[in-house]
């Protein structure tokens, strides 16, 4: 893998992490952390760490984002309002770009190897390797759609009205 791709992904990771740390709104922090988890999962996936990429995306971009959001809503301590629709639209556009980049990286990488005669036929997880790009893409699309819905819900009421 070329070092330029690593640099690009790492730049995306650093930008999302810095935005998560220095953001005033807790919603933006959680959304940026979601993007950081997704980018890190993509890094693992395209560098031959498919299982840990999948586990990372499922755990941090999925479960932990929802748990953080639930705790923020339960405590009601921090400012949740994103501010305006422009920022919400920007975040949604970034989500779509992430999905496009993920699908590109998943489908232009090494072709998924079908089950060969050397592999045992009783391997119950063989379908993961056979349909690897598809299940990861579907997972990313589901998470992205959920985050767009969250962005829409948390955008300011005045701008929505």
């Amino acid at each position: 893998m070329a070092a330029e791709i690593a640099l690009l992904l790492c730049a995306a990771l650093l930008i999302t992490v810095i935005a998560a740390i220095f953001s005033k709104s807790m919603s933006v922090t959680i959304i940026m952390l979601f993007y950081a988890s997704l980018v890190l999962g993509i890094i693992f996936t395209i560098y031959q760490g498919v299982v840990i990429g999948l586990v990372h995306i499922t755990t941090f971009a999925g479960a932990m984002s929802v748990m953080l959001l639930t705790v923020v809503l339960m405590t009601g301590e921090t400012k949740l309002d994103i501010g305006n629709r422009t920022l919400a639209a920007l975040l949604a556009a970034i989500t779509i770009l992430v999905v496009a980049a993920s699908s590109y990286s998943l489908f232009t990488g090494a072709p998924s190897s079908p089950q060969t005669a050397t592999q045992p036929a009783t391997d119950i997880f063989s379908f993961i390797w056979m349909f690897r790009p598809w299940d990861l893409l579907i997972l990313i699309i589901i998470f992205a759609a959920a985050m767009i819905a969250v962005v829409n819900l948390l955008s300011s009421k005045e701008a929505r009205a």
């Binding site: 893998m1 740390i21 952390l33």
Partner: protein, 102 residues
């Protein structure tokens, strides 16, 4: 010559220090948990990059998997503690909690 391993190791170091910086200076316990998650990201990336140059990186992958599970568990417990702290003190500011304790 910059290799992928060098890039990932550098970014992992930056992530760990960014997370620690944010953890020490945040005035909100939720931000502390977010910072902890960033430190876990850095640790995962460092572990993953350690196995990149080798023929088989199964050991590194196993360690990353262990780190993901441990980090998620610690974070879940931390979030539960935050809910309890908010119920008890009504705030998430560590300095205010410290004053309310006395």
């Amino acid at each position: 010559m910059i290799t992928d391993q060098t890039v990932f190791a550098t970014v992992a170091t930056i992530l760990v220090f960014l997370g620690l910086f944010s953890m020490f200076y945040s005035r909100n316990l939720l931000k502390t948990i977010v910072s902890f998650q960033i430190v876990v990201f850095g640790a995962n990336l460092a572990l993953f990059s350690s196995g990149l140059g080798q023929a088989s990186n199964l050991m590194a992958n196993t360690l990353v998997l262990f780190s993901i599970v441990a980090g998620a568990s610690v974070e879940a417990v931390g979030l539960a503690l935050i809910v309890l702290v908010h119920r008890a003190y009504g705030t998430l500011d560590p300095w205010k909690i410290r004053r309310l304790k006395h």
